[in-house]
Symmetry: C2
Subunit: 476 residues, 2 copies
């Protein structure tokens, strides 16, 4: 049986659909093909040279085996599964759960398959306190997955130190190994050392894979497998897409063409990229994409001695919900956005709309329809309205939402990001600008260090406080 | 005892903080004061003339009384409270809950105060089916609040027709009045007629108040009161802010100065407005703001015969979470954003970070700190990093998050929107561009009507399908 697929559709960014002022003409598409085609060979070459190790993740045999082994050891005793992680150690994990588990998963009692599932990707005191309040007498059947690539993420370690104290006091220090799984790089970073010393189960993040490209490492796979998601199918979907995004023919390569179209519109003033799934399940994949796109492509580069700031701003939206929130702006506001819809052809469940009472004949037309018909008609209607205002629209079509198509989608967008980086001529794999904020946090918290030339850490902390203090003169 | 307050701080948008190229100079601020001051008198006059009825909502005595009466009748039998509504009939409701109820509210069993709380603001088949699956044997203790201003919102009526059939089959048609509360305009719209005919409890949305300005009508107040939120305090906070936003002195009026600053930056190429709460509780107020700002200010206007497209794009972010997702772009990407941080001085609960083990001395600096210290230091650190790159930053300071400060915030941003509309010279209260998509949905669903001159509804539906069909030529 052929497996479910995703497809990339770009007819409605073309000049035929929205006119030559905003749309891509046949000639422009040829120019994009010419510019992008050499990059296909280049990316394939880089991949062969081992420079983009994220490309090989779907082929690992050991990783899913190792992950399943840890799952098998813990699964039976686990009623609550809690991820402590942030950024690339959270967004892919959340996206998989929202896509592949029922909406009411955590609320279900008897109907629940797999443990309750939580991700804490913040250090909000009220939020975390509410969780601690709840977990109190349930700690015994709870597993925490502490995830940090570099092993010294202040937020994640802080949460871990709270949980560690709690578990140690309740069950003794040796209990930790039954309740905590650590996912990190195996490079003797602080978290790795803690895990080794306390003999905690440990899963490795390959060194060359950045956080936002790590969902197909144990970062994403372990929590997925713990909750009953079929990780083999997820990886198979990614491998399927790998074939497509390696194709030398630009017109047959969905990552190349997607990146080229995004690049084209950015250069023509459409600096905002809206991803709008018409599926609640796909909502958090748009959030995962938001990090992937922003952190990879938001870069300053030196162009003939001038600093140039590059980077489309990704925006997540949700159909139909945001029709009643954002579409007024999307249609009448500045034509500065490229839209990517995610559309699902077939849903696992599909409630039928009941009859309207006789006193409301205006609503009778809804009766007997399934919700999916309404949802997908609204996607068409919204796209039509945007096209009337000459706004460019892409669509990624999902046969259905399952592990296989989600795996395809993840891999498609990761490789699209690599192509976009090559087109913008920036390095999509680093994030130099995140460092300053981290260091400033360290200095403010009194961590010794040489942060700023000519300043002690205390002097620098003082400067930061003075720059950000609330000055009476500008306070209302 | 003085009540908790919010304050608006704009020191870090000034040229002194980020330089004269990107910051506001003293002279520019004076020019903004000169341009905006007459609008203060104008808005105060419009309000007295009754043209902006949302301004009077916090003063109603009848509304909270009526709301509390319905709450008193239903509260004891209600274990699950479900809102069916979308856009302005959902976002304010969600924002109040996230702000004022514990994070784990729906998961709590014994510790829960008030009913479980759900909002369905979509017609996603899988999501709604998951809910129906769960609610099955709990329907008897469930109250639905069906909210639609115009009473014919296709999404909300569709959900209601599913629920109506379910309740009727289970408990008989007369049971509806025990399980459904309708909130709508009392103008004999379809929903109002259904409610009247079935003798359902009904709450009125004042005719002149648009959806996105309706959170302080029964739209927002009823669900809040059902869940134990102090609506009197919410309204008192709004009244408190009303005094401030009516002040004639531009420099003392937080709504006027906020709107003027936003207007200034939009006109200087900063077309994206990022609202970034450093508080999980305030997360969905940023989403509420997103509709308020986009739908009110995203407008096309005729300028000397030319159509001009106006409208900042609001983006919601979350501190510290999005530091690990968006800050790379915010610092190194184009300087096209104005940032508004929401900062909370005091949290109700504040877990303390435990000690790090001896093998990880790098993390010892965290021990003994409360999470709130870390959170607010990270806000400072991120703001400092953005200022280094000359990005303008506003802050709204909350003494703490409670009904009173949330009421202030809501009212501040509603009136800020009115000021911004006046500065942009557009009507912030309509949403003409939403209509086309609604009509296209109707036509696609076979609802008869005269939608497009010269077309039958079937012909128009055919055109919409042809414009949005997936053409083989552009499919990868």
């Amino acid at each position: 049986m052929p497996r479910s697929q995703i497809e990339f559709y770009y007819g409605n960014v073309m000049a035929d659909a929205i006119g030559p002022k905003h749309g891509i003409t046949a000639r422009q598409l040829q120019a994009l093909a010419k510019r992008t085609s050499p990059l296909i060979a280049k990316l394939n070459e880089e991949r062969r040279a081992g420079n983009t190790p994220y490309r090989d993740l779907p082929y690992s045999k050991e990783t899913p085996q190792r992950v399943k082994k840890v799952v098998a050891e813990l699964k039976d005793k686990c009623e609550n599964f809690v991820v402590l992680g942030i950024g690339g150690s959270a967004l892919g994990i959340i996206a998989l759960q929202t896509a592949l588990k029922p909406y009411m998963h955590n609320i279900y009692e008897k109907k629940r398959t797999g443990p309750r599932f939580f991700v804490f990707d913040n250090v909000d005191p009220s939020q975390f306190a509410s969780f601690l309040h709840w977990i109190g007498n349930k700690l015994g059947k709870t597993v925490f997955n502490v995830i940090s690539r570099g092993g010294q993420t202040a937020e994640t370690i802080s949460q871990f130190m709270i949980i560690r104290r709690l578990l140690s006091r309740r069950f003794g220090a040796r209990s930790l190994r039954k309740h905590v799984v650590v996912t990190t790089c195996f490079n003797h970073n602080p978290l790795h050392r803690i895990a080794t010393n306390a003999a905690l189960p440990c899963l490795e993040i390959p060194a060359g894979v950045g956080g936002r490209f790590s969902v197909l490492t144990p970062v994403g796979l372990f929590s997925a497998a713990m909750c009953g998601i079929d990780i083999d199918s997820l990886l198979a979907g990614a491998r399927d897409m790998d074939k497509k995004v390696s194709r030398k023919n630009f017109y047959k390569n969905p990552a190349a063409i997607n990146a080229a179209i995004n690049y084209h519109f950015y250069n023509r003033g459409k600096k905002i990229s809206v991803m709008m799934p018409y599926s609640y399940a796909l909502k958090d994949l748009a959030d995962w994409y938001r990090q992937l796109w922003a952190e990879s492509l938001g870069k300053a580069k030196n162009l003939k001695g001038r600093l140039v700031h590059i980077g489309p701003t990704p925006v997540r939206a949700l159909g139909v919900t945001d029709q009643h929130s954002q579409v007024q702006l999307y249609r009448e506001g500045p034509n500065d956005k490229l839209f990517t819809f995610l559309q699902v052809n077939s849903f696992d469940k599909d409630p039928k709309i009941g009859a309207a009472p006789r006193c409301a004949p205006e609503m009778a037309f809804l009766a007997g329809n399934n919700l999916s018909t309404l949802l997908n008609n609204e996607k068409k209607a919204t796209e039509y309205a945007l096209l009337q205002d000459r706004r460019p629209c892409l669509t990624v079509l999902f046969d259905k939402v399952d592990e296989y198509t989600v795996g395809q989608f993840i891999y498609l967008y990761e490789v699209t990001t690599s192509f976009a980086g090559a087109l913008f001529k920036i390095n999509p794999y680093n994030q130099p600008a995140v460092e300053l904020g981290k260091q400033a946090t360290f200095a403010l918290k009194g961590k010794q260090g040489d942060y700023k030339p000519g300043y002690t850490y205390q002097e620098w902390a003082k400067e930061i406080c003075s720059r950000t203090k609330i000055d009476k003169n500008f306070r209302v």
